[in-house]
């Protein structure tokens, strides 16, 4: 019976990665390796103002003083930064003024990924999604910018924001994640190439979902993107992020920064479906995903909500966090992290309660299969002044098979007596009883596992915008294909 279970497990967890293709596009690269020259090259390519170059160089000098952190429950092969290309951009013949001028190969790539860059198609639907498509180091197209600008909303690539809105960039860039924050944040600050910029002015409710789609295409290339979202007083925006990469034997580095600023009464919902190439079933290749995501609830009654579905990457190191500075501000973190084969994930959140009556909720669902390791790491800190604050944390782990690991590392620090912190944790397996019950109704093993896993993750999946939820459900089943037991 044990061997039967293992056999089924193997079948379900060995599905193939469906986004592993490479697009043949003409690409220009920065010289391989990292030095001050690389940074000057990137900044020069982007025709950046002096303040940006200065920021990058300061970050680089700081990074040189740091060493890679090893506190996470991850086994990381050494990264040789001199073997990585830090900038790769699809060559373009001239400035793009319409979709017709985007390289058809690129359009085909995004269509293949199920992302339409064609505004007309989206307009026909009930609700549109504005997309910023980033391939390797640059943004190739942002849709709906004009429609959004009528509401005063700025949604463009980070590079464009540097050119067109330097004051806003100067004001907010690094204000939530300073370049001194950590090793990978310093690296990103030095070499980041593109990403998205969103600015929602006072009182505006963004009329459509904003979305950035990241794709690594070129070999030996790292992707270092940076996203900045600012919601002014009373503003609302829902933002989604998706990502995939070709199947390659070597590991590729992805080190991103996301910063969110929410002013008084503002609300930002940030959803991620992370599906970077996870490596093959023997653990060869895959993306190293080191990401610093943090939001600050600056004004009172503001809210930041993170939802993530993490199924990809060989290594995930990521803790989307909230600084709850404004009184009555709210932070939320909903996460499903799936690891299979040799994948490793160390992910969670930090909720820093600084304002009075602040509230935070953490719902984390880990699913481990194969020989993978899945860790939740979270910090809840309630400062002395954050009186009457509340946190509720729930960390559940689901194990498929006997060779995987699930770990929970909660850190809780409460410095006043009027606050309440609750933490619940469970570990479970898909039981033989559940599988038998499903099979007795005619449901195959694979479907049964898909059903059970999606049911387990439901609390998180229901937080996702409609456009993402169906995709995420399918992805969960696919990620575990060949792994049930």
């Amino acid at each position: 019976m044990e061997s039967e279970a293992n056999k089924i497990l193997d079948e379900v967890t060995q599905g193939d990665y469906k986004y592993g293709f490479v697009t043949d596009i003409d690409t220009e690269f920065a010289p391989i390796g990292l030095s001050e020259d690389t940074i000057r090259y990137i900044s020069g390519k982007k025709n950046e103002p002096q303040f940006m170059l200065d920021f990058r160089l300061k970050a680089y000098k700081h990074w040189l003083t740091l060493s890679q952190p090893h506190w996470a429950h991850l086994n990381i092969s050494p990264i040789n930064f001199q073997d990585i290309i830090f900038y790769a951009a699809p060559k373009k013949k001239k400035e793009l003024s319409s979709l017709d001028e985007v390289d058809p190969e690129l359009l085909a790539t995004f269509n293949k990924l199920g992302i339409s860059l064609d505004e007309q198609k989206k307009l026909a639907g009930v609700s549109g999604v504005a997309v910023d498509a980033v391939i390797d180091s640059v943004s190739v197209k942002t849709t709906f910018s004009e429609t959004l600008s009528k509401h005063g909303i700025i949604f463009c690539s980070f590079s464009e924001a540097v050119q067109n809105h330097p004051d806003l960039v100067k004001q907010y860039m690094g204000s939530v994640v300073p370049y001194t924050d950590n090793y990978f944040a310093a690296l990103n600050s030095a070499v980041f190439s593109d990403g998205s910029f969103c600015f929602i002015p006072k009182g505006v409710r963004c009329p459509m979902e904003l979305s950035t789609y990241f794709r690594i295409n070129a070999a030996n290339t790292g992707q270092f993107e940076r996203t900045l979202i600012v919601a002014e007083e009373g503003a609302y925006v829902s933002y989604m992020e998706g990502c995939t990469a070709p199947q390659r034997d070597e590991n590729q580095l992805h080190a991103a920064i996301v910063e969110i600023v929410a002013m008084k009464d503002a609300s930002v919902k940030y959803s991620t479906v992370q599906n970077w190439y996870p490596g093959d079933k023997n653990g060869r290749g895959g993306i190293y995903n080191f990401v610093t995501k943090r939001g600050i609830c600056k004004g009172s009654h503001s809210k930041i909500s993170w939802t993530q579905v993490e199924t990809g990457s060989a290594i995930t190191w990521k803790y989307p966090s909230c600084i709850l500075l404004g009184d009555h501000s709210v932070g939320e973190f909903y996460s499903v992290a799936v690891t299979n084969n040799h994948q490793q994930a160390d992910t969670g959140t930090k909720m820093m309660h600084l304002g009075k009556n602040t509230r935070s909720t953490i719902i984390s669902k880990g699913i481990s299969a194969g020989k993978s390791n899945n860790s939740y790491r979270g910090l809840v800190r309630i400062s002395k002044n954050a009186v009457n604050s509340r946190n509720y944390s729930q960390c559940d782990s689901l194990l498929l098979g006997a060779k995987c690991g699930a770990h929970t590392y909660p850190y809780i620090q409460v410095d006043n007596k009027s606050s309440i912190v609750e933490h619940e944790a469970t570990t479970s397996k898909i039981s033989e009883d559940q599988l038998f019950y499903c099979q007795q109704r005619g449901i195959s093993n694979e479907s049964a596992i898909g059903l059970i896993v999606n049911g387990y993750a439901k609390e998180v999946l229901k937080q996702l915008p409609m456009e993402f939820a169906v995709e995420a459900q399918k992805l969960l089943s696919i990620s575990l294909e060949g792994s049930v037991g």
């Binding site: 019976m1 039967e4 039981s431 033989e432 009883d433 559940q434 038998f436 019950y437 499903c438 099979q439 007795q440 109704r441 005619g442 449901i443 195959s444 093993n445 479907s447 059903l451 059970i452 999606n454 049911g455 387990y456 993750a457 439901k458 609390e459």
Partner: protein, 250 residues
């Protein structure tokens, strides 16, 4: 003949539980299997359904002339075998609607049919819910999660109605039921009886058989069917208990 069990021996972890069971079930019949605790009633049901923890060591089970041991659990179900569980398991976060839709469509796929369109499926659910007298909100809840004993058993009968099996085995469906729930469960079974299907009702007490009238009653004792008769055998057992059967065996 729908089901033919010949000299079935089966057990778990090397321990023999069924020691030569013989049973024949024809279309249109209702059979009751009774007997004291621990004599193999639930094991027999599990073995017919194909549960892998049990090993069949001798004998055979023929279903519609096919050797069942060559079929997987899900294929047995798709061929029309339904097991009503004594202790239905909880599946958190999976609504009954979603669960049943998956089941119905996998059975259809096996039979070479297209999936049932959403509207048709919902209409089918409404019809079957009415048939087995269950309320709407039950099917919106997660499968068996937080259900009372009665709700779990009603859910089993509802699923049986949805899947329209040829052979339904109800494993102590009456255990833990109050009289109203018992009546609803029994009514459901009676409404689903057809000349072309059959029921095997496993029960401890004669009480259920007041509502589901069997054509045959069998007594399973120490892994064998030791006595068979008509519905009056159940009444005799109710009156005298199982001791006289034990004595007969000694």
């Amino acid at each position: 003949m729908l089901l033919q069990i010949k000299n079935l021996h089966a057990g778990i972890n090397g321990k023999e539980i069924l020691r030569g069971v013989n049973l024949e079930v024809n279309q249109g019949e209702v059979h009751a299997i009774m007997g004291p605790n621990g004599t193999g009633k639930s094991t027999l049901a599990s073995v017919i359904a194909g549960r892998e923890v049990f090993d069949v060591t001798a004998g055979e089970i023929l279903y519609q002339g096919k050797n069942l041991q060559k079929l997987s659990i899900e294929d047995r179900a798709r061929e029309g075998i339904f097991l009503g569980f004594q202790y239905p398991v909880e599946i958190p976060g999976v609504s009954i609607t979603n669960f049943m839709r998956t089941a119905v469509n996998e059975v259809r796929k096996y039979k070479g049919l297209d999936p049932l369109p959403g509207g048709d499926f919902l209409r089918l659910m409404e019809e079957k819910k009415k048939l087995v007298e269950i309320t709407s909100n039950l099917t919106n809840r997660s499968v068996n999660e937080g259900f009372s004993g009665g709700e779990k058993k009603k859910n089993e009968i509802f699923q049986m109605a949805m899947l329209e099996p040829m052979l339904a085995i109800l494993d102590e469906t009456d255990s833990g039921l109050d009289i109203d729930a018992l009546r609803i469960v029994a009514n459901g079974v009676n409404k689903l009886r057809r000349p072309d299907n059959a029921f095997v009702v496993i029960t401890h007490y004669q009480r259920l058989l007041d509502y589901i009238v069997p054509d045959f009653v069998h007594v399973l004792f120490e892994g064998k069917i030791v006595k068979s008769g008509g519905k009056e055998l159940a009444l005799e057992l109710e009156e005298k208990g199982y001791d006289w059967i034990k004595k007969e065996q000694e």
